[in-house]
């Protein structure tokens, strides 16, 4: 951390939030760090830790109802916070560039990509249109984008998410910025896509000697990218160290917790790379791993009681008429009390599969049997009893819970609807359910918006439990949650599974999470199950080629991994 040639110095930065009554409350306090050219400093923390706020503040920008209250942001000897808004606007785009979390949302959908990439350069008169176009093409080339000559003529919706994210990098690099800020640039991407994007970014930063801030909640990714890591919690700095130091020797308990929460696949075969000391230490601390332990227990129990609960035979489904088949000839079996993990990338059809089982979507072909009976295709036609037996837990608890209902009503309704439970009995049961998902009884009169993401997901799950079902379909229920919260939810699920003997269909894109929970794994790709086997078998080599790609794409919690993996491609014949 050499302060002499640092491009960016952030000193004692504070940001306040202003509420409707004009009262201010600090949300970020006393942040200081600096970055040298070609270096990447990463801001890591959970949601609400202020990492995005800090990164935006380094551009002199604060979100609505926020205000930078104190500190300095010195970019090459000039304090950005002393500039007025038009001066600062001049810096943005040319000296400082930004890559937003979701390129799909951040690109203007009404303008062509090329126009947006070259917009500021041309507008400022830094380049002529021809020069700008040439530079854009060369950047597309560097970022490994297909058809660099013509991709600029497309509109954002015409290219894939991974490409858009890289195009945004091109947009950012257009005017040779000194400072590049990346806010969770790969969070919205599939693991296999993520690698290419990360590699492209890193190469570019090193080559162009840009100082970069990399914001993420994903420690494993951060470790691949960052030279220094700044851990944030509740708007305060927890720890600022070089990446290797953090991995080897985290000073703070909180950093350690974050590291522990990163789900690491423990492959049955010998890992061909030695675990880092820190990871190894973390792994040691966990033994005996309760997760692993109960998985084993369950396998045993399932063996003992292997009644078939749900059978899907040759299920095919499509949206619209016949244009896009999303499920092709799926057959699947779920035993009583068994947990099936369904894994796949976006567009693999895994969510559709869950919706077909629950009756939210009508298969065009095939049939679903539940407890030996053929189920009707739509939930409208299913009996109330059938509906009760199969519960569906939506991915986003925020949207799956009616914002106008109190928790009492959210949990009370299935009780009344399925079990005819009202009044005092219902209330007692609700408290019991809250207790089951480890929430206190006082939540009963709250509205969903008064709960945190993790609490909401618990309520969401409790609603499924209220029906006392045989099968719960969980659709990506941890993917929107912070690592620590997600870990707690998974533990809750495992705990409940043991206590209640409910079967789960657990849908996720995250192999390491699923593997902790599932007895069997179904790997899906393009609407087909490419592999279906006991979890142990799936994870044990030889892998199916696609499964291997997925496994290899999961960032490992050690430095240097990103450089090692290359050319991960899956080409089914």
């Amino acid at each position: 951390m050499n302060s002499n040639n640092d491009i960016l110095q952030v000193q004692n930065l504070c940001v306040d939030a202003i509420d409707r009554h004009g009262k201010t409350m600090p949300i970020v306090c006393n942040i200081s760090f600096s970055i040298a050219p070609g270096q990447i400093t990463s801001l890591i923390g959970e949601s609400g830790s202020g990492k995005t706020t800090v990164s935006l503040a380094t551009m002199g920008y604060s979100r609505p109802n926020c205000k930078i209250s104190k500190g300095k942001v010195i970019l090459q000897d000039e304090d950005l916070l002393n500039l007025d808004s038009s001066q600062i606007q001049q810096k943005r785009g040319s000296d400082i560039a930004y890559i937003a979390q979701s390129a799909a949302a951040a690109f203007n959908r009404a303008l062509t990509i090329g126009a947006q990439v070259t917009e500021v350069a041309v507008l400022r008169g830094l380049m002529t249109r021809q020069q700008a176009d040439l530079r854009a093409v060369s950047l597309y080339n560097q970022l490994g984008l297909p058809n660099p000559e013509t991709i600029g003529r497309l509109y954002p919706h015409q290219v894939s998410g991974g490409q858009l994210q890289r195009l945004m990098a091109a947009m950012a690099m257009m005017c040779h910025p000194k400072l590049l800020i990346m806010d969770e640039p790969t969070t919205a991407l599939d693991v296999t896509t993520q690698i290419e994007v990360l590699q492209a970014f890193k190469r570019l930063i090193r080559e162009q000697k840009v100082a970069a801030i990399y914001v993420s909640h994903d420690l494993a990714v951060v470790v691949q990218m960052a030279d220094d890591i700044l851990v944030l919690k509740d708007g305060r700095m927890v720890e600022l160290q070089s990446t290797q130091n953090i991995l080897d020797n985290p000073c703070q308990e909180y950093t350690r917790m974050l590291m522990d929460a990163v789900p690491q696949l423990q492959l049955p075969h010998i890992s061909h790379q030695p675990l880092t000391a820190a990871a190894a230490a973390a792994a040691d601390k966990l033994t005996p791993d309760p997760v692993e332990k109960c998985r084993l227990e369950n396998t045993v129990r399932k063996e003992a009681n292997s009644d078939v609960l749900l059978t899907l035979s040759n299920v095919t489904a499509a949206y619209g008429s016949n244009t896009s088949t999303v499920l092709k000839d799926i057959s699947l079996k779920v035993n009583l009390g068994e947990t099936i993990g369904i894994i796949g990338e976006s567009g693999s059809g895994k969510t559709t599969l869950g919706r077909v089982i629950s009756g939210l979507m009508v298969p065009s072909n095939g049939q679903i049997e539940f407890q030996g009976r053929v189920l009707n295709n739509t939930c409208k036609q299913r009996s109330r009893e059938d509906l009760r037996q199969i519960q569906f837990v939506f991915q986003m608890a925020e949207t799956a819970l009616n914002p106008r209902h109190r928790i009492r009503q959210i949990l009370g309704r299935p009780l009344e609807f399925y079990l005819g439970m009202t009044g005092r009995a219902a209330e007692e049961r609700i408290v019991e359910l809250l207790d089951l998902v480890e929430l206190s009884a006082e939540f009963i009169d709250r509205f969903p918006r008064e709960l945190s993401g993790g609490q909401l997901q618990r309520i969401n799950f409790a609603r499924a439990l209220a029906a006392e079902p045989k099968l719960i379909i969980c659709d990506e229920i941890t993917s929107a949650l912070d690592t620590l919260v997600s870990k707690a939810i998974i533990e809750l699920l495992i705990n409940l599974k043991n206590r209640l003997g409910i079967a789960y269909v657990f849908i996720s894109h995250d192999l390491s999470t699923v593997a902790k929970l599932a007895d069997s794994l179904a790997v899906m790709r393009h609407g087909e199950i490419v592999e279906f086997n006991k979890t142990g078998n799936v994870l044990t080599p030889p892998h199916h080629e696609y499964t291997e790609l997925l496994l290899d794409s999961i960032p490992k919690l050690r430095t240097g991994w990103l450089e090692e993996v290359s050319g991960l491609v899956y080409n089914p014949v």
């Binding site: 409707r20 009554h21 920008y61 604060s62 979100r63 609505p64 109802n65 926020c66 205000k67 808004s85 629950s358 009756g359 939210l360 939930c379 409208k380 299913r382 109330r384 509906l387 569906f392 939506f394 991915q395 986003m396 949207t399 799956a400 819970l401 009616n402 914002p403 106008r404 209902h405 009503q409 309704r413 299935p414 609807f417 399925y418 009169d445 709250r446 509205f447 918006r449 008064e450 709960l451 945190s452 609603r463 029906a467």
Partner: protein, 286 residues
């Protein structure tokens, strides 16, 4: 996270966020409503009482706002006019919202042929100028208060239908309605417990907007001679019947106009504030 400790209700939250402008608007509205309700007690004279044979009597101690074209007290007529305008408009808007929302929600939830048919008919009704529908209906059924109310409500309900349907379409596509569907809930539950509470915010805003449109539309009908029955006069009719006063420099038509403006502006500003409570905030650099 907002204030997890204390129990809160959406209503209490709203009240806590009242801005001075919103408070002023709300107070004006409340004063107007109270005036309207308390008309028999606060109005200095009977609205029909003829006090002088002079048209457009000037403002005086006995006639606070002066006299109208027939020699009646403007202040008294204004207060009663307020009562009629607010009363009729309220009934019309409530009726329109009841039918419009019910049909709109049904169309959104049921979809299919019901939605298509209903939407086409409503489209057709919207394609016809409101004034034309009003003319034809009132010509067919005769001009009376119930006919007037039903006609206005019919016209309004077509507009409400569109909004209610669009809102419900969004809500129906939400996860929590899917959750209710997969639970096996029926139409009634979905409309009453899932859609309605969530559409209430935007609908309340629309209620205010339609309310003001109804007042203005009623005035236009009054201009064409299809409005209220005399001697009762809504604010629009009060303007219309005293419009000649402008020739004599009388302010008689301006008071009711002012009242309409007050209602419209306060309602709209109040709604703006209310919608702001629902909306997300904007980038601060704007």
């Amino acid at each position: 996270m907002r204030n997890i400790q204390s129990k809160s209700s959406p209503f209490r939250d709203l009240l806590q966020n009242l801005t001075p402008t919103a408070i002023i608007c709300l107070s004006i509205l409340i004063i107007l409503i109270v005036l309207a309700i308390a008309a028999p007690w606060v109005s200095p004279y009977q609205p029909t009482e003829i006090l002088t044979d002079e048209s457009y009597h000037l403002m005086s101690d006995s006639m606070l706002l002066g006299g109208d074209y027939l020699g009646r007290d403007i202040a008294s007529r204004l207060i009663y006019g307020l009562q009629i305008t607010l009363g009729v408009t309220f009934v019309v808007t409530v009726l329109a919202f009841f039918t419009g929302c019910l049909l709109g929600f049904l169309a959104a939830v049921l979809g299919g042929i019901f939605d298509t048919l209903l939407s086409r008919v409503i489209d057709a009704l919207i394609a016809l100028p409101a004034i034309m529908i009003a003319l034809i209906v009132i010509a067919s059924l005769g001009s009376s208060l119930p006919v007037l109310i039903v006609t206005l409500a019919l016209i309004d309900s077509t507009r409400v239908f569109r909004i209610a349907r669009a809102l419900a379409m969004n809500i129906v596509a939400s996860d929590y309605v899917e959750a209710a569907r997969v639970r096996g809930e029926g139409l009634k539950w979905i409309i009453w417990h899932e859609i309605l509470p969530n559409a209430l915010g935007p609908l309340a805003a629309e209620f205010g907007i339609r309310f003001t449109y109804t007042i203005l539309f009623m005035s236009a009908l009054g201009f064409l001679g299809l409005g209220m029955q005399p001697p009762h006069a809504d604010l629009g009719l009060l303007i219309r019947e005293n419009m000649q006063g402008l020739l004599f420099g009388s302010y008689a038509p301006l008071y009711p106009a002012l009242a309409i403006s007050l209602i419209t502006i306060t309602i709209n500003i109040f709604i703006d504030w209310y919608l702001q409570q629902l909306d997300s905030a904007l980038p601060s650099e704007f």
